[in-house]
Symmetry: C2
Subunit: 534 residues, 2 copies
């Protein structure tokens, strides 16, 4: 079903009709209120319709609906779910009475009307994640979202019991985002066939790209929903190069690419935890041109009525993340988060949130991207954090059955996740507006909010003391601060008894008025949390 070709009624007509429906339903509404379907805010409303099963409904049938609430009108594309079933899926973002009416080029699917009540969200539902304060994220209800992501590229393509194990692992993890591919993966350690494919056809490489496989998508969206219920964002990778023509999903014809994007976005965009990652290592997909990627972004943007987060992940050539359809930069570059002074540069350039979604993996593979230590990975998270950016986790410990978290999920073996949980707690206890670099470009290893909150990190240095001094902005003589010493590896937080009172030292710095220092244990990976006391 190509949404681009769909005939859309002029807005005025829609508004007029919508007004009528609202009038009708608000008259009926009061008495019927008890019976009316209820959908929580940012939840899922689903309308299932029965229609033609013959021909090729995926391309023959056009179906959409307008959802109306007072002056809001949202146009939603439906999709064919096989066996004569059609679905229109909608996630309302305002409480109250919503009405709808369908449109189709098939009479029995067209002109269907109805309504539902959108209720307050349940306690664990904070809405979709959005950009907040230029460089950060927050849920739609304002709750800050501090990204601590992981990656299991092909977990939904593994045997079901392995998938269940992955979900179980995720349920007890620090990760509030997971990146994974819609298409299966063919790569080192990844030579198993999935049991479901997104298209009808004969594996490995004969596909009818005009016919999607509803079973595949029902399974895939079930996983999205399960992740959502655990509070985990689903960063869905729409294309990737780990195919090399084995199945051919990395080299579909242009029409197939575009139709695939429309279908996927129509099916999945209503899930509030969906993020769109246009590709992993987009530049390693030699069959695609730069123009293709721009077009893909525009298709996703045009067909997603919710404006879910959109990014694209690089190999060695960065996409131009300043372009307006990119909501945040998704970066592969491990060396950039070895130094907060590197990581901050992407933020400065893009003026958007930066997530270092791939920074090499904790593990023991022979490949150099897959054998950093747990200490090193946690170090990279902390460097990214004090740069005002976000980092992603990955794990690649060798396994006799090639079940490696990075691609297939399963269980975690590494030392980093516990420390990332610790970091996430510190981030979530931090300032509502997010951690901003303090005195950037001056080799100052602090992030926070000028004048009130400073999180410092010494990385591999092993200082035995830190002279209390902070860059001047928002500071004044007589201000008092409390300090905690954080061991980011041993996961301890030790408050310093004394209070530090500052005085101006020179044109750049305020320091403790008595020249006081914070004692430190001479170990690597130490941090400081400094908060205004009065």
């Amino acid at each position: 079903m190509n949404q681009q070709d769909e005939g859309i009624n002029p807005e005025l007509f829609i508004r007029f009709r919508a007004f009528f429906i609202v009038l009708l339903l608000s008259i009926m509404g009061t008495s019927m209120f008890g019976q009316k379907m209820k959908v929580e805010k940012w939840g899922l409303f689903e309308l299932k319709l029965t229609g033609p099963a013959g021909g090729n409904p995926f391309i023959d049938i056009e179906l959409s609906a307008v959802f109306v609430k007072e002056d809001r009108i949202v146009q939603i594309s439906g999709f064919y779910d096989g066996q004569g079933e059609y679905i229109i899926r909608f996630s309302p973002d305002e409480t109250g009475l919503w009405t709808y009416q369908t449109q189709s080029n098939v009479a029995r699917l067209s002109g269907q009307t109805g309504s539902f009540i959108c209720t307050d969200p349940s306690d664990s539902n904070h809405g979709p994640v959005r950009i907040s304060n230029t460089y950060h994220f927050a849920y739609a209800d304002g709750t800050p979202y501090r990204q601590v992501g992981t990656t299991c590229y092909a977990w939904t393509h593994q045997p079901l019991n392995l998938q269940e194990q992955t979900l179980k692992t995720l349920s007890d993890c620090p990760f509030n985002k997971i990146r994974f591919c819609l298409f299966p993966k063919w790569y080192s350690y990844n030579k198993n066939e999935p049991y479901l494919f997104p298209f009808e056809g004969t594996p490995p490489s004969t596909w009818d790209y005009t016919r999607f496989n509803p079973d595949f998508f029902r399974h895939f969206e079930k996983r999205i929903l399960q992740l959502g219920n655990m509070g985990i964002e689903a960063d869905i990778i729409l294309f990737h190069p780990y195919d090399k023509g084995h199945w051919g999903f990395d080299r579909m014809p242009k029409e197939a690419d575009d139709r695939y994007l429309c279908y996927v976005v129509s099916r999945l965009s209503a899930y509030r935890n969906v993020w769109w990652s246009l590709a992993n290592e987009y530049d390693f997909m030699k069959e695609k041109t730069p123009d293709d990627w721009d077009r893909f972004f525009k298709i996703v943007q045009a067909h997603d009525p919710y404006g879910r987060l959109r990014s694209i992940h690089n190999g060695s050539l960065l996409y131009n993340h300043t372009l307006p359809w990119v909501t945040h930069a998704s970066i592969q570059n491990g060396s950039a988060v070895q130094d907060y002074g590197r990581a901050v540069l992407y933020r400065d350039v893009y003026r958007k949130p930066v997530i270092f979604d791939e920074v090499k993996y904790e593990g023991n593979l022979p490949q150099r991207w897959g054998n950093i230590s747990g200490q090193e990975l946690v170090f990279r998270f902390w460097e990214g954090t004090i740069a005002g950016t976000y980092v992603g986790h990955g794990e690649t410990y060798l396994d006799p059955n090639d079940i490696i978290w990075w691609a297939k999920g399963g269980v975690l073996h590494g030392q980093s996740p516990a420390r990332l949980a610790f970091l996430r707690t510190i981030m979530e206890e931090g300032p509502q507006e997010g951690l901003e670099p303090i005195d950037k470009w001056q080799n100052c290893p602090f992030a926070g909010v000028w004048g009130t909150y400073y999180l410092g990190y010494f990385g591999r240095q092993m200082p035995t003391a830190w002279l209390f001094e902070l860059p001047k902005s928002e500071l004044a003589d007589g201000m008092k601060f409390k300090v905690e010493v954080i061991d980011t590896w041993d996961m301890t937080i030790t408050p310093i008894e004394s209070t530090f009172e500052i005085a101006k030292r020179d044109n750049y710095v305020f320091a403790d008025k008595n020249g006081g220092s914070v004692p430190l244990p001479g170990k690597p990976y130490m941090a400081l949390r400094i908060r205004r006391d009065e």
Copy 2:
């Protein structure tokens, strides 16, 4: 004279007329060849015309000319030079017979025709500097241009004897580019009034922005020409914030800004060593909006028929250098060139040449931007160089008369210039295509050309040996290399007697087949030059 309002004849008419002129002149040409004016390629042709002096010729009179050579037609704007004199200035980029015809809204300035012979350039004339190989620069004749710039913001506004001294200093310096402001500077250490202003009016702040001061511009362009004759590019800063309303050039009305740009570009663009720097610390000019800067770029681009290099220099907020009218990124960020792993990120993001035009200054000012050591500045140049970027020099030693090189020129006191001359020689002896990072994002401190040329730099590390090993690309068993040890501070180049023959060591590295090392003196600031021997 606002070029934007100028009536331009349809192209076909111009072509027809041009054909006629060419015909006429080629008939006359042969016999008159000896007498015809000669202008060297990339040199200056100047047509002076006499016209009205009354009213306000700067805004009343429109004047331009078409210059034609075979199928080339170039439209050139003229400008008013005061006292009834009008000038059309053109720099031809092809040898052979050029003809021209003027156009004006004043009859006596219109329809003037003529021709000249463009001859081969003289030995020292390599043409204007252009982008080359995406990240580098070359003169139009193909000669590589390795930028080693300096900055004297207000040197053309100082007493004449000081300006002469600056020129003398520059004549014996490594610098092949100088950044300086068109407007005078009002700032710490800069409280002297210039003797010429760009507008008619009464100092300090009463100006007629519709009337330029030809004396000012004749002086300014004389300096550009003198720099050009020394092989120095003039990076002209068109706006800057160091005025704070003292003269008010930082807060002119929009029409004055635009008219100023048109006049400046019409007057100066024909000088082949001109670069346009839209501003210094553009984001510190609080009277301007982001839209203003985009508009300024478009005006300069539209009015400069030569497409001279265009950039804009930041304070703390980077301009979006991915925009098409930016030819190269001009960056202020000293910390970025303390680490090649930082500097390279700008290159990756912008996919354009990067010049770190301000990295703090060698000197002894109390301000933190003005007191780095000569060692530190040279170190930053080298880190930038092995990141595949370019760096700029500046000097801020205190002076009893506030004559500081950074702003006023004069003489140099620092230790860095000699070392920058040494570095420039090494760059110029390097590969024609420029130094590219080797195995970027892998903490590999080498730049060069895979397989043939590697320039390594150890910065503040003090190794006593370097195990001969290089990343694998373009390498093969049996290749041989010669090594030189470079002391970047003591300026020595010491060849290593032995030849290194490589063998594959693992999936990432080739190493000397006998495990050979290069001995190093255990000092900081050492470099290696490794070249393929056979």
